[in-house]
Amino acid sequence: MAVNKLNNKGFVLFLFLVVIAFLAPLVITNSYTLHILITIFIWSMLTLGIRLIMLVGHLNAAQAGIFGMGAYASALLAIRLDLSFWLALPLAGIFCALLAIPIGYPTLRIKGTYFVMATFALTEVFRMIWMRWSGLFGGPRGISGIPRPDAINFLWLNIRFVGKVPFYYLGLILMLITIIFMYRIDNSRIGKTFRCIPQAELLAECIGINILKHKVIALVIGSFFAGMAGSFYAHYSTYISPWDYTWMKSTQMLMYAVVGGTSAVAGPVLGSFVLIGLEEWLRPLQEYVPIFTGVILILVLRFLPGGLLSIPEKVSGLTKKEGFITIPKRIRAFTKR
C-alpha cells in the first residue's frame, strides 16, 4: 500500500465533496454561513502549511506572522503600487516563500523546543514592526480600504467581486489548489523524505539526505500558501490590523492540525472544518466556546493521538497506539534501508 495515496473509494469521496462544495452556494444563500465557509478555506490553507513542517518534526508558530506578512504585502502592493489583486496574490505568496528562507536557515538548525519559541517570538517581532512603523503599515489601526479583486472578463466569463459568492468560489479554488499540491508532495519522493526525517534524523543524514535543506523547503512551501491565504484574506475583508496576527492565532492553527490529524492531507482541512464549525455552532454560548475547544483539544490528544483522521482506524481497531504523528510502517522500512 502506498504511503498516502487515495484508493478509488477515497478519490470518489474527494470528488463527491468537491462537487458538493461547488454546488453549495446554490443551496446556502445565507451570507453569514458563506462567510464561515470562506474562513474555513483560509484556515485550511494555513493549517495545511503548518502540517508540512510538522511532518519534518517541528511545530511552526510563525505561520500567523507569515499569514500577516502576506496580507500586508498584498495590501501594500495593491494600495501603494496600484497592482491588481491577481498579480498581488502570487507576489504575496512568493514574498512569503522568499521570507521563509532567511527565517528557516538559522532557526531550523536549532532543536525543536527552541524552534517553537523562536517562531513565536518572530510572530511578535512582525507584529511590533507593523505597530511601530505606522507610516507604512498603519500602526495599531491597521490598513483599511484594501481594494476588492478586479472583475474577471474572459470570454463568456464575467465575474464581479461583490457579495460573498465569488469570494466563496475563489477561496474554494485556492484551497483546492493547496490540497492538490500538498497531496502531490505527500506522494512524491520529497514528501517521503520529509516523513523519514523526524523518525531517524541521524540515519537520514547518513544516507545523504540534506536535513536542513528539506526542513527549509517544507517551511518555504508552507509559507507560500500562507502568503496566498493572507493576500486573499486582505482583499476579502478589505481591512487588516496587527491584532489579527498574534501568536495566539498560531496556536489555533496548530490546534486545528492536531485535532484533524497530520497523517494525511485531509486532516488539517477536517480539523479546520470541524473546529471552526463547532465554534460557530456554539456561538450562542459566547465566552464558553474556548473552554469547549480546549477540552476537545486535550481529549483528542489523549485518546486520539492520530487526530480525527484516525477515527475509522480506531473504530475498526486496526492500529496500535503510535506517537504524536502516525507514520505508516512502510516509511520505517524506508528509513532503515
Binding site: T107, M117, A121, V125, I129, M131, R132, P290, L297, F324
Partner: protein
C-alpha cells in the same frame, strides 16, 4: 527631570520588571528543567495569581485589620491555591504525555484556552484595578521610588531566594535536581518521581502566581494579562539556558533592563522587538542560551 534622574528612574523600573520576569521565568525554568514540559499555560497561572490577589485583597474578603498583613496573607493563600491547581493540571493533563515535548506544548495551549475562558466567564472582560497597601514614595537623591514598586522588588527577591535555597540546600531540592539529571537513576535511589514532579510543578506555579499577585495592584487584572509576560518569560529562560536558575536570573535582568530603557528612550514596540530579536540571535549563535552548557 534631568537626564540623570530619568536614567535612574528607568533603572528602578527595570529592576522591578526584571523581578517580576524572574518570578515567572524561574517557575517556567524549574518545570522545564525537571519535567521537560514547556508550560504554555504558565502565563495563565500568573493571571490567576492576579485574580487571587484581587479577590482576596481587593475585594476585602479577609478579616484582617492591617492592610499590609492582609495583603501578605492574600498573596500566600493565592500562591497555595494556584499551586494546587497547577499540581492537578500536571497530574491529569501533562503527565500522560511525559517525554513528548511537542504534545505537552499543545496540551499547554489547550489549558491556556480553558483557563482564560473560565476566568472570562467568571469575572468578565473589564479590567479590575485595586490599590496597593503600600503608598507613598521613597526619595533617594532626587529619584522617587514608589513604595508599591519597591515592595514588588523586595517580595520578588525574597521568593526567588527562598526557592533557590530550597533547591540547592534541602533534601527535597536535592531529589529534584537528581530527577532533572537522570530520572531513572534517581528512581533507583528511591526518589518518588511522581511526587517530585508534583512538587516542582507546585513550586513553579506558585512563583508565577506570586508574580501575578504582586503586579496586580500596580497595573490591573484581566483574563488576558498572562499572554504578554509568558512570551517574555520564554525569552528569559532561553537567554539563561533552559533549566538553569542562575541563568534565568541574569536573563531576567537583561530582558527587564532592555525593556525599560528601550521603552523610555525609543518606544515600547521597539523594546519588545529588540527583546524578541535578541532571543532569535542568541538561539542562532548559542542555541543553549548564554549560560547553557550545550
Amino acid at each position: 527631570m534631568s537626564l540623570g534622574q530619568i536614567i535612574l528612574q528607568t533603572f528602578v523600573n527595570g529592576v522591578m520588571s526584571s523581578m517580576v520576569l524572574i518570578l515567572i521565568a524561574s517557575g517556567l525554568c524549574l518545570i522545564f528543567g525537571i519535567m521537560r514540559v514547556v508550560n504554555f499555560a504558565h502565563g495563565e497561572f500568573y493571571m490567576l495569581g492576579g485574580f487571587g490577589a484581587w479577590l482576596l485583597f481587593g475585594q476585602q474578603l479577609l478579616p484582617i485589620e492591617s492592610s499590609v498583613l492582609r495583603y501578605v496573607v492574600a498573596v500566600m493563600i493565592t500562591m497555595m491555591v494556584v499551586a494546587l491547581m497547577g499540581i492537578l493540571v500536571e497530574r491529569y493533563l501533562f503527565r500522560p504525555f511525559r517525554g513528548d515535548i511537542r504534545a505537552t506544548i499543545i496540551v499547554g495551549t489547550g489549558v491556556m484556552y480553558i483557563l482564560q475562558a473560565t476566568t472570562l466567564v467568571g469575572f468578565g472582560i473589564r479590567d479590575k484595578a485595586f490599590g496597593s497597601p503600600f503608598s507613598g514614595a521613597v526619595r533617594i537623591s532626587g529619584v522617587s521610588i514608589s513604595q508599591e514598586r519597591l515592595a514588588v522588588v523586595i517580595f520578588g527577591a525574597i521568593f526567588t531566594t527562598i526557592m533557590y535555597f530550597f533547591i540547592q540546600k534541602t533534601k527535597l531540592g536535592l531529589s529534584m535536581r537528581a530527577v532533572a539529571q537522570d530520572e531513572e537513576a534517581a528512581s533507583l535511589q528511591g526518589i518518588n518521581i511522581s511526587k517530585t514532579f508534583s512538587l516542582a510543578m507546585g513550586i513553579g506555579i506558585a512563583m508565577a502566581a506570586a508574580g501575578g499577585a504582586l503586579m496586580a495592584p500596580i497595573y490591573y487584572v484581566n483574563p488576558y494579562m498572562g499572554v504578554e509576560p509568558i512570551m517574555k518569560a520564554f525569552v528569559v529562560i532561553i537567554l539563561g539556558g533552559m533549566g538553569s536558575l542562575p541563568g534565568t536570573v541574569i536573563g531576567g535582568f537583561i530582558v527587564g533592563f532592555i525593556e525599560s530603557f528601550a521603552s523610555t528612550f525609543i518606544s515600547p514596540h521597539v523594546a519588545l522587538m529588540i527583546v524578541f530579536l535578541l532571543l532569535i540571535v542568541v538561539l542562532i549563535v548559542r542555541p543553549g542560551g548564554i549560560f547553557g552548557r550545550e
